[in-house]
Symmetry: C3
Subunit: 424 residues, 3 copies
């Protein structure tokens, strides 16, 4: 149970807030690389700031404040140039560093004034990696953009999925360190939603939470497993500061502002060995709706949609003054304490948790992974066909279980990569 | 003309308000019985409280606060159990009295603590009657759920219709004691809307308003009738505290919160004598939209839709400081005064108006009814065919005149019950 | 760069505001004449006031406050009578001067009281002209409704187009005195939107702004023209207080309230000489959507839609404390200063700018017009066919370039008037 002040500390992300300052020390995914290839500008709202992301004709990426400093026109309707982004209202042009490079009429009418030299707008770093565009909004020197181990894998089909979730990021991230919710939200509820009234799934009997360099590992024993299971020995990862990592996929909970979160899913599926070598020329992206337009209720059919129901049900910014935490929530408590400590570290001039600055380390940042062999070496067709159900999350399957609304073209590309016959 | 403070007194319904306390002394219809058979949970907002209504596998009804006390997940996405409602996030389970009956991980990990014994959530009484589920949010002992006379009738086709009306409940209820609006809103305007420029309907020439045990009866004489007419001798009923009763139907104006109202219509149509005996196995329910999606304007084609136009046109919470009441509004004034008195009665520890506690009385609470014979005995096919137009509101007719959007299956069931040939 | 207080002075339009008082000294177009022929009442929100516009059965126009003084019902759902508008709730009737003419039940029940004589509602002047209905909300004596020169022309096809733009009127009107935006927003951006990466349009090299009786003329020289061009000699007109006039069309930016503006376009196209005489029996009107429903982004395909992108991009009420004005914005600065001066003139009891009271002047108020000959005399079919592209804005063309969404029936009527073969 947190006081209102402590709750604000965890949840406020805008400029000038303490958590906002902390989160600005990390890189955040904000778009797909393919997205900017499809349309060269994208309005982005990140950590309470209205920005425009663009890719110019020289393939430079820029992330600028969205309003032109001339007369506040919306630069997301701007024109991308050989080098920079131009406001479509009166033609002022900016480069990716925020310098004003042209003011067409002023440049003709009064070039000697060099009015443009007085104009500078907020500009942030952008880097592409593994199908995503990443933004850094903090002070220099910027840390390295983490090269997580799965980003180094090949022979995989990757897809990126966005959802806009109308609640605060922190309650989403609390779900990254919450083993018990799998038993209920994904196992038992899913069965009941499907009209299946069979016995409930094996219960959790033991939990553990351990900090490591890049977050917290959580481990569990269930009635059907013991401490020899990889669920205990390897565990899963609450990745710092705002992601879940499960081995074959990442889920970032990127704060749009205090009351909305961009869910960014990155899903890797290793192709079966008989489909190698597989090279993916373009990492597809899509947006998953979260509301059932017919009923106005949240969609519940897919795994992450079930998570979203959990998150948004807690309210726009959940009131942690009314919660009643138990033993199941020890990870949540540990995570909050780590954040509270890190806020102090930052304000004392220290480096916050899990920031990577060593290029050697960043050649490949390894993470705990259940079933690494299958992900890095693949499975034979026979192994694949011998695995039933969804249980083996790292085994390729027809159908996308994580989010509602996968477009047909992505499904077909996936099935083609895996050697599945596409269902009609 | 009311002061702002007096207006707030009539219109505020949330917890802690005076009118909210008064309205909590009555039962309110919040859903159809068939609705919970179709889906076992329903989010309900009532008197400013967010609740979840459910029916468990033992057919117990419960009405609980909507947020789980564990970590605030939305219980309307919960799992109904043999006895109670379970949160789908981490499995905490509650019974209809608000007791926490299970906390799966805590029960395994630390059963000796019995953490669940410390957890209790708000829970309210629910009772089914006549196709509706009724809620009581007040203190114990709860009064009886009124057994209004029409609830005792048989050989009738009943349907329940919901509409969400974006304004305060009190201006809706003022329309329950407003005889003159029939002349204009339903007679004359309806003609003009249909492009009919014939002479206007007979005018009201005399009104009377009389309190009785369960509300206020209003009586009228029109140019085409006299004091021998049942419009004068029987009259119609402004039913306490928030309904209209016209003989063959009820309309409750159930406060969702200060600025929205759930209109609940309960419509009884006696089958013609040649269709008896008629037994209705399931009372159907449907939701009537109130906005024309093509124009963004209110729907005006049906009787209660015309009422809705009157209500919402007055604003979200009408400003009674700008009104100019006349002789036509004597009933409105009488009703307000009764509410103001009742607020004082309640605060002095008394029993408010029209609360029923005597089981003998509640075996059948009779009400003034125009045309009771037809409703209780039915009409012959010949009588039915001899009655033209809609004038005889208690005479079964093809077509549903009250609300826009009756679904085809309800229309077909009605026509079948009445022995009408269903229009294509 | 304006202070917040100065910005409020320009942008606040409601009753009791200084700019609101100034704008109430002018006539504003609020509907099409044909619109009231199609439906006799229309809810209007103008300068922050909720009103109802109607046309009664005697063809009187009225503009009344929208809420009935009886019990606040919405008069836009009222009944038009032989002389006045009647509330559909209880039948009170008002004439176009705001007098209450009937209170049906009071008139029968207590005629001696003459309660209606105590009731008066706000009523404003309405006048029809050139396809539009105009409202005047200021003090008497009202000035003349300007008879702008194009309103006196014949042999033209006129159409009226409405759009609701969710931002303050003043930033829309700043666009009326902004020559440079044509180069970018309409020439260069339009090319890029069409995927055309050809060289940019000729640049502006010189601007001039001159006040005249009815606003400010702006003149320009571009790289492809000189001071002999009509763009310099005649110029275009920022028409006082809230319009753009370009010769063949007007665009009024009518303040709905502080954060929304009704764009009213009036487009005149002279028919070619071989189609004369042309008489238009009914000036058609239509509403142009501004949001692409598929993407949620602003529509960008048409000229005024591009302007709308400029306006709304500046925010609901643009913050003029963050702007950086240059030489391109001298007209904007001049316009603001004129408004600031006029606010003082008004408060000193003077007559504000561009108010017309002399009937002789108002027989035909001439304005600077580029290409007046073509507009007043027409072109031959051969001239028409010799003119390529859209450049000659005063030359009739198939296709409506100004706003998205012209209905087929308007397009067909236009093509028929011009002698164009209608595209399928």
């Amino acid at each position: 149970m947190l006081s209102e002040a402590r709750n604000r500390l965890l949840t406020e992300v805008g400029p000038g807030t303490r958590m906002g300052a902390l989160l600005r020390r990390y890189w955040h995914p904000v778009a797909a690389i393919a997205e900017l290839a499809d349309a060269p500008t994208k309005p982005v709202r990140l950590l309470g700031e209205n920005l425009v992301l663009y890719k110019d004709l020289s393939a430079n990426y820029g992330l600028l404040e969205r309003r032109c400093p001339h007369r506040s026109a919306d630069l997301s309707y701007g024109i991308v140039e050989q080098c920079g982004l131009r406001c479509s209202y009166h033609g002022w042009m900016f480069d990716q560093f925020g310098a004003c490079r042209e003011q067409p009429f002023e440049d003709i009418d009064a070039p000697e004034i060099r009015f443009r030299d007085q104009i500078h707008i907020r500009a942030y770093r952008v880097e592409p990696k593994s199908g995503l565009l990443w933004a850094y909004l903090g002070p220099e020197p910027a840390p390295l953009l983490p090269n997580w181990e799965p980003f180094t894998w090949d022979n995989g089909f990757v897809q990126v999925v966005f959802s806009t979730v109308p609640c605060n990021w922190f309650q989403c991230q609390e779900n990254s360190i919450d083993p018990v919710h799998f038993e209920w939200l994904h196992d038992n509820w899913k069965q009941r939603l499907a009209g299946n009234h069979a016995a409930y799934a094996p219960r959790h009997t033991k939990l553990a939470f351990d900090e490591f360099d890049y977050g917290i590992v959580y481990r569990r024993v269930r009635e059907d497993s013991d401490e020899a299971s990889p669920l205990w020995t390897a565990g899963r990862v609450c990745l710092w500061p705002n992601a879940l990592f499960t081995g074959n996929h990442f889920e970032w909970r990127v704060p749009i502002d205090d009351t909305s979160t961009l869910s960014v899913g990155w899903f890797y599926t290793r192709v079966p060995q008989d489909r190698e070598p597989f090279v993916q020329n373009r990492i597809p992206y899509w947006t998953s709706p979260i509301v059932d337009e017919n009923t106005g209720r949240w969609i519940t059919s897919h795994i992450m949609n079930q998570d979203f129901v959990g998150w948004v049900g807690q309210g726009a910014i959940t009131d942690r003054g009314r919660e009643h935490l138990g033993h199941s929530d020890r990870g949540v408590i540990m995570m909050r304490q780590r954040f509270f400590r890190d806020l102090e570290v930052l304000e004392a001039g220290g480096e916050p948790n899990a920031v990577i600055r060593d290029p050697e380390v960043n050649r490949c940042v390894t993470l705990p992974i259940i079933g690494r062999r299958r992900l890095t070496e693949g499975v034979t067709r026979a192994e694949l066909e011998a695995t039933k159900g969804f249980g083996g999350g790292d085994i390729p399957r027809p159908g996308f279980p994580y989010l509602y609304g996968q477009p047909d073209d992505v499904r077909r590309a996936y099935d083609e990569a895996m050697g599945f016959e596409t269902a009609k």
